[in-house]
Symmetry: D3
């Protein structure tokens, strides 16, 4: 195991997804420990840690891709939350979905909007 | 016909896609004139002209979505060129594709990289 | 805001989706008011109001597309209901799904059939 | 081999796709004879021969599904031609694509329009 | 109705999916009896009964395809169970998902892993 | 750079894709050197080198996934060739495609068959 990549990945994962991200990795580990390790090492240690795109733009890329794919709603919700964690605004998330209506169709955009709504309601609940 | 939306859209289309964009619309018009009009009015006049996301980020959203969908290679090439037109760098396009390897798989990312290469070769040819 | 397009769209939306459609638009409005407006103006005012295909065939096109895409189950259910609202029969919906088994595979068709079943059970419940 | 299903399918295939359809089946037969047989028996003998949807509507369903899937451009072209063979008009094909802009996004619709254009140019060439 | 194909298909269906498969077919029959028949005759009688790939490999092909498509989670769960029924191991299912992270992206693979986990928990529950 | 993972990956890549694979990596390197490195390190060094599924089954998984996705025809062709390189037969490739007709639809399966045909014609040409 490559300790440096793993640790860099784990730091990045915590920055983006917080404690929920840690719990998710633990959950994957219980079935597929190496796949969990690849997410940390490759996804976060190799890719998300790269320069060349700031972290906010990286999350926007991920949210756009998952909305277009349309087959990964749980991950899309997690990444809308992550986008907020790294500084995206409510308005920016709505704009990404509006833009996607043109390129991936209104149903994909509307499923995305539904998740944006859920994430903001969760945020509001935690505040109160 | 809504003149203001159309003109705002046409300006935006020219800013993003240049003369190639105009020719494309003329081409669509010859088969489906109303669909061509909807692209200008809705796609560019309503959506691309919105505040809330700068034009560079909008192009990054579009490139990410088309790479993830994977079924619109001609449009993806046109939007990689458009991303450069509005100020994205070669490096940023490569980073979008690298990020997408994680979320949409390596084949989608590699097809995107192939188009990034083509666009940069076209740019180099025009320069010389 | 283009009043004529919006009103034409709203009428069409009511014809196709009834009160459930109105509630849906209100729901989208609470997060993304302009996207809600685009659905009414563009989706229903511009596109669904066009001549060239009768409303029944338009709903069949939508149901076929959503079944093939497979990533918009809530919208598919709503449009199977809408197809019935504008005059499609139970048998026609089953035939669309059967045809799609050939082109999009049995899983997509069977998910469609599951929704057809739900819609018909809902219809039966309302009757009694 | 089930002679009746095969013959019914072969007749239906000829009605829809003409000689081009026969050549296609011969071509598939040279690599995968049973898959070729399944297309004739199941696709055309079992499904396309069913009552419940007229042949024009069946082709519209297929064209809508293939445009939405977006990953089967050669088949989409063949089915736009088939739609004309069984009585669909140029306008109806354009309307299907316009409707799909809403549900599958503009790129899918525009790739469809490009094929509609090709099919009509081919038809015009044959006439002269 | 082709009795031989139907019976061969029914036997194969029972071998792969057990009683749950029978109940599923009964359920489809209540809405779309011919589609239910095509699943048995074509899917199981014609295709799954073929030589050329052993039944374990056929299930691996199906699991890989459904994971990549990503829009048929109920079927994917059923086929992970079926893969175990015909002799695949827990480890093999995890490896299929790990391999798919490379080709279809981590979200598709992780949704697959989530279902693998569910299936194994169901198996454990039945044992105790 | 992790030398061991890279070298293990490079060996695996050569075993599966031969010289064509090396040329492909060089080509990606010229635009996106780190993405090329990730393919070797992660795709081949981490994943393809794993125990738990033999190399033939891994290629069958990849071919099934790419056929189902349908948006990566160049990669699908390369992996059909790779499947033959690691010991799959012509018949097995045809069976994978036949199985996929059921799960991903006939168009996806037929596009796969077209590539199987091309690969076998290429093999025959090289022999003579």
């Amino acid at each position: 195991m490559d300790k440096e990549r793993y640790e860099r990945g784990w730091e990045k994962l915590r920055q983006i997804h917080g404690e929920e991200g840690e719990r998710f990795i633990e959950n994957v580990k219980s079935v597929a420990p190496d796949l969990a390790r690849f997410i940390v090492e490759f996804g976060f240690g190799d890719v998300y840690s790269r320069p060349g795109l700031d972290i906010k733009t990286r999350e926007i890329v991920t949210v756009a891709a998952l909305t277009a794919l349309g087959n990964a709603q749980p991950q899309l919700k997690v990444h809308i939350q992550a986008a907020l964690n790294v500084g995206c605004s409510h308005e920016e998330m709505v704009e990404v979905m509006t833009q996607l209506a043109v390129y991936a169709g209104f149903p994909a955009a509307l499923n995305g909007i539904g998740l944006v709504k859920q994430v903001f309601e969760d945020v509001d609940k935690k505040r109160t």
